[in-house]
Every structure is written in C-alpha cells, then in structure tokens.
C-alpha cells in the first residue's frame, strides 16, 4: 500500500512539474509572440525608447543638469538658445534646459503616481462591481457616472478648488479623475472573464471570493488594465500641467513644466523660447505615451483599432 501511495505521489509530482513546465513555455511563447508583434510597430517602438529616455531623465536628469535650476545669472536674462544655454534662459537668467531636467521627476512623478493610485482604486472597485453585481455594482457605477458628468479637467479643477492649490492636491485630483475610467473598464473586463470555465472550476473547488477575484479573474483582465494605464498617463501629464499652468498646481517658482510655461506667457513677445521649449517637451512626452499606448493596444487586441 505505501508503495502505491508513493508511486501516486511521484506521478502527481511529475504531472505538476510537466504542467508547470508547459505553462512556463506557453507563457514564454506568448511573451515572445507579443514582443515580435510589438517590434513590428515602429512608431510604438520609437515611442517606447523616448519613454525610457524620459524615465531615465527623471531619475538622473537633475544630477546631469549643466546648471542648478535656481542658479540666477542676471547677465543672461531672457537669452535665446545658444551653446552655453541650449534652451535659453528665463527672466532671472536661469537655464531653461536645466530647469526642464530638474522638473522631470516632478512632472512625471506626479502624473505617474496619480495614475498608479487611481488605477489601483478603480481596478479594485471595477473588480468588485463586476464580480458581486447588485448594490455594489450600482453604487460603483453610479459613482462613476457622477464623476463622468464633469468633463476631464473640470473634475480635477473642482477637487483643487476644494482642497486648495498645490502639487499634492493636483496628485489627488488627477488620481480621482482617473478612478472612474478604470472602474468602468475593469467591471466590463471582469464581467467578460467571470463566466469562464476556469473561474467556475475555481469556485467549485471551494476557492474563496478574494482568491477567485485576485488570482483567477484579475490576470484575465490585465490586458485592458495595461492598455488603459498607458493611455491615461498622457492625459494625466496633460491635466497636471494644465492645472499648474492655471496656477493651481506646482508653485510658480518650481521647475514644473506647466508652471514654467505659465511663467513664460508674460514674455511671449520678447522671449518666446520660454513657451515653445517647455511646451514642446510636454508635447513629446504625451505623444510618446500615447503612441506607446496605441501600439500596445493594437498588439494586445488588434480588433480594437
């Protein structure tokens, strides 16, 4: 008897090993296939490299800046782009290129972190709404409807109006207006996965709701989550810069890109580079995230083009 049991255990173990091996190789193949498909989209690949460059700029930019962002040079006030000041200087003679580098962690950090927080909240709410239905779904979806009734930046402005100006409040505002889009998308994705056979099997094996939701359903909704996440970063950068431009975000003296542009508008006729260049950086950043998001969406789900 013990021998038979041992054999049984051995067989089970080898089955599990084979199963895991197969699973790993399927996953590797899928990843390879995804990379192969993605590499065919040249603009998306280029956007990916720009994004990586921007993230590196956020990490190391401030230390690589040729001048300190607050270094005043009154002999070079409002100077145009030159070899010593690549992007020119502002009304205090501060080097705009160095300020853009120093402002990268601030601008990208606020946008990225707010989307991460908004996405996490929206995902949990969407998963719960889609899985449990009933009053939870009603509550979450009506809440999303209310937030959707205030178009994009207006909601962020309303939140800043409530909490007061400041970069932390911009982070909260952008996170809040990110939540409903994730809640909606994740609810639909959950509804689509909820009826799958493997979820039924997990339930019949006695898995708890939490495990079914986060171990079985959540991975099935990852595609929608990743695509929406990338797409929302562009909007978040735009919203955060818009709020700073309006004077509700970063302190006007901070090297935040939107705030720099806002400062430059008073010198539009004498030093247009103060507006052109920080704006161009915002544009390229948003464009890179949007192009990457488009490429990712087309690769993951070619139907939704």
């Amino acid at each position: 008897m013990p021998n038979t049991q041992n054999e049984q255990v051995k067989t089970d173990t080898s089955f599990e090993e084979n199963y895991i091996d197969e699973n790993v190789s399927v996953k590797t193949n899928k990843t390879k296939e995804f990379i192969k498909k993605f590499m065919k989209r040249k603009t998306a690949v280029a956007a990916f490299f720009v994004m990586c460059f921007l993230l590196l700029m956020a990490l190391f930019g401030p230390s690589l800046a040729p001048y300190a962002p607050e270094a005043y040079d009154y002999d070079n006030i409002l100077a145009g782009p030159s070899a010593s000041h690549l992007f020119g200087t502002d009304q205090y003679g501060r080097d705009i290129f160095s300020r853009i580098l120093a402002g990268t962690p601030l601008t990208l950090g606020v946008s990225l972190s707010s989307v991460i927080v908004g996405a996490a909240l929206g995902t949990v709410l969407g998963l719960l709404a889609g899985y449990y239905g009933g009053w939870i779904e009603m509550l979450v979806m009506r809440g999303a409807d209310v937030l959707f009734s205030f178009p994009d930046i207006l909601l962020a402005i309303a939140i800043v109006a409530l909490l007061g100006p400041g970069i932390v409040n911009v982070f909260i505002a952008v996170a809040v207006f990110t939540v409903p889009s994730f809640a909606r998308i994740m609810r639909s994705a959950t509804l689509a996965v909820k009826g799958s056979l493997y979820v039924e099997v997990a339930r019949s094996l006695g898995c708890k709701d939490g495990r079914i939701l986060f171990v079985h359903i959540f991975p099935g909704t990852l595609q929608s989550l990743i695509v929406n996440f990338t797409m929302r970063i562009g909007s978040a950068i735009m919203a955060a810069s818009s709020l700073s431009f309006l004077g509700f975000g970063a302190n006007i003296a901070d090297p935040e890109w939107g705030a720099m542009l806002s400062l430059g508008r008073s010198y539009l006729s004498t030093a247009p580079h103060m507006v052109y260049l920080p704006g161009l950086v915002i544009f390229i950043t948003v464009l890179a995230f949007n192009l990457f998001g488009d490429g990712l969406r087309d690769t993951l789900d070619p139907k939704i083009k």
């Binding site: 178009p151 402005i157 309303a158 539009l268 247009p272 507006v275 949007n290 939704i304």
Partner: protein, 306 residues
C-alpha cells in the same frame, strides 16, 4: 420613439439628483469649518456666525439640501461672495462667450476630423493613412495652452494678423477656435477611421461591391453613412469635453466666459459661484449626452428596441 425618449429622460433624473447632492456637499467637503473658510482669515466670530446663518449651515443637512434644491428650481444659486451679484445672473452673463467658443470649435473640427478619418480608412496602409493618423495623435497630445500661446506668438505678435485677446470680431475667434477644435478633430479622425474600417468589413458592403456598384457609391452611400452611427456618440462626448476646454482657452485669450469665471472664483474662494458653475457644467454635459442618446436612437432603430 416617444417611449424611448421618455425612458432616457427618466434615467437622467436619478443621475441629476446624485450630481446635485455632490455639488451641494461641495461646501461641506471644504476641510475645516466651511463658515470660517467662507468668511476669510481675518473674520470676527460674529462675521463667521453671520455667514453660518446666511448659508443655513446651522440647519440640519437634509433641510439645507431641500432649501438648496428649492433654490435651484427657482433659479436661485445664492450670491457671489466677491461681487454680491446673484450667481445665476453672473453665470448667464458669461454663458454667451463660452457658447460662442464651443460653436467656433464645432464649425470646423468635426468635419475635418471625420474627413481625415474616412480618407485614412479608404487609403488604409498608405502615406495618407499614416500622415492622417500621425496628425490626429499629435492633435491629441498637444496641450491646448501651448498651442494657444504659440498661435498668439505667431499670428498676433509676429504677423499681426489676428487679435491675441478678447472677442470683439470674428477674427478674434479664429485662434480660440483652433485651440478648442484641435482635440475634437483628432479624436473624431481616429474614431471615424476605425468605425469606417469596421463598416467596410460588413457583408452589405461586400454585397454592394458584388452587385457592381461604383466604388464611390459603396464608400459613401453604404459604408460612410453607417459608420457615422458610432461617430455621433463620440461627437456628443467631445462636445461635453469642449466645455472643459473652454477653461484653458478663455484663460489664454482673456475671454470672460464661464471657464474664466471658474478660475477667478477658485482664486477668490468664491464657493457659491464655484458650486453654481459645477452644477451648470454637469447639467450641460448630461443634457448633451441625453441629446446624443436620442439622436443615436433616431439614427439606429435597433437601440430603441433594446
């Protein structure tokens, strides 16, 4: 059709009620004592108490909400803390400027957007498609405030062709309209393209081709008309989005519309005006969506039967 419209109208009522609660709670969500915030830093306890009385902050919350709703139905949204003018009057005086801007954006952007999208779909995979879609994604990624300021610098400061501020003549609408419309043009170009491509795969398009119809008739009578159904929904959402675009545009071009009023009111912490504007913006957005839904029902009878 009447039943469909009635059903959609009824569906809007609970949403509007929730929005009204949200907007009503706005003053109560101000961190700390709202009466103190409304009265200002240097206010005396008597002044704070007077504010509390004026806004009914001593009453139970439910009574405050009921009073707020009765006021709303009578068109009374309180008075501005800054100018003491009734909020409704203040918003109404600014409304026409914002509407002018929205119309200026709508004059060209949807048409150009749909045209670009359809051309890209017809010429799929060519340079026209690539160029059109690149233009669209650039339009989506360019911040409105940057476009506006560059427009002022080039057309007003350098060329002296267009005014840089105000709304005195049609010329002063050109640059704001450009800023307002760019996003909508870009979005519609992308959606029209994908909607047209989807329609071109339909059986009835294949049948029309098999019947030997001219390609131009297949494209415009069979494919284009049907692809518009999806585009209408997106257009509705975009019109709602234009309202938020007005906040930036009005600030760049110093246009005294509702968006400018909102920014000024936030700077002054004029909460009754902020509350009124939020209510109007949300109401407009919901109404536009309602109109779009009804239009959608008119264009696509299948929706009415659902």
């Amino acid at each position: 059709m009447g039943r469909y419209i009635a059903r959609r109208l009824l569906e809007t009522i609970p949403l509007m009620l929730i929005i009204s609660i949200f907007v009503f709670m706005f003053i109560h969500l101000i961190p700390g004592d709202p009466a103190r915030t409304l009265a200002g830093v240097e206010a005396t306890p008597e002044e704070i108490e007077a504010i509390r009385e004026e806004f009914g902050l001593n009453d139970p919350l439910l009574k405050q909400y009921a009073d707020y709703m009765i006021g709303l139905f009578k068109g009374d949204m309180g008075r501005s803390l800054k100018s003491n003018i009734p909020v409704t009057e203040l918003i109404w005086s600014r409304f026409q400027f914002t509407i002018q801007l929205v119309c200026a954006g709508l004059v060209w952007a949807p048409f150009l957007g749909i045209f670009i999208g359809v051309m890209c779909a017809i010429k799929r995979g060519t340079w026209v498609d690539l160029g059109g879609m690149f233009l669209a994604i650039c339009g989506l990624s360019a911040p409105g405030f940057w476009l506006g300021l560059m427009g002022i610098q080039f057309f007003s400061v350098k060329m002296g062709m267009l005014p840089s501020a105000g709304l005195e003549s049609w010329k002063s609408l050109v640059l704001p309209s450009l800023v307002m419309g760019t996003g909508i043009m870009a979005t519609l170009a992308r959606y029209s393209r994908s909607s047209m491509l989807e329609t071109l795969r339909e059986d009835y398009v294949r049948t029309a081709r098999a019947k030997g119809q001219k390609e131009s008739i297949v494209m415009f009578r069979h494919a284009f008309k049907n692809s518009l159904i999806q585009v209408v929904t997106i257009l509705g959402l975009q019109i709602g989005g234009l309202l938020s675009g007005s906040v930036i545009t009005e600030n760049i071009f110093s246009i005294p519309g509702m968006g400018r009023l909102l920014v000024d009111s936030i700077s002054f912490r004029d909460y009754p005006v902020i509350q009124g504007l939020l209510m109007i913006f949300a109401l407009q957005y919901v109404l536009i969506n309602l109109v779009v839904d009804v239009l959608y029902g008119v264009i696509n009878p299948k929706i009415r039967l659902d």
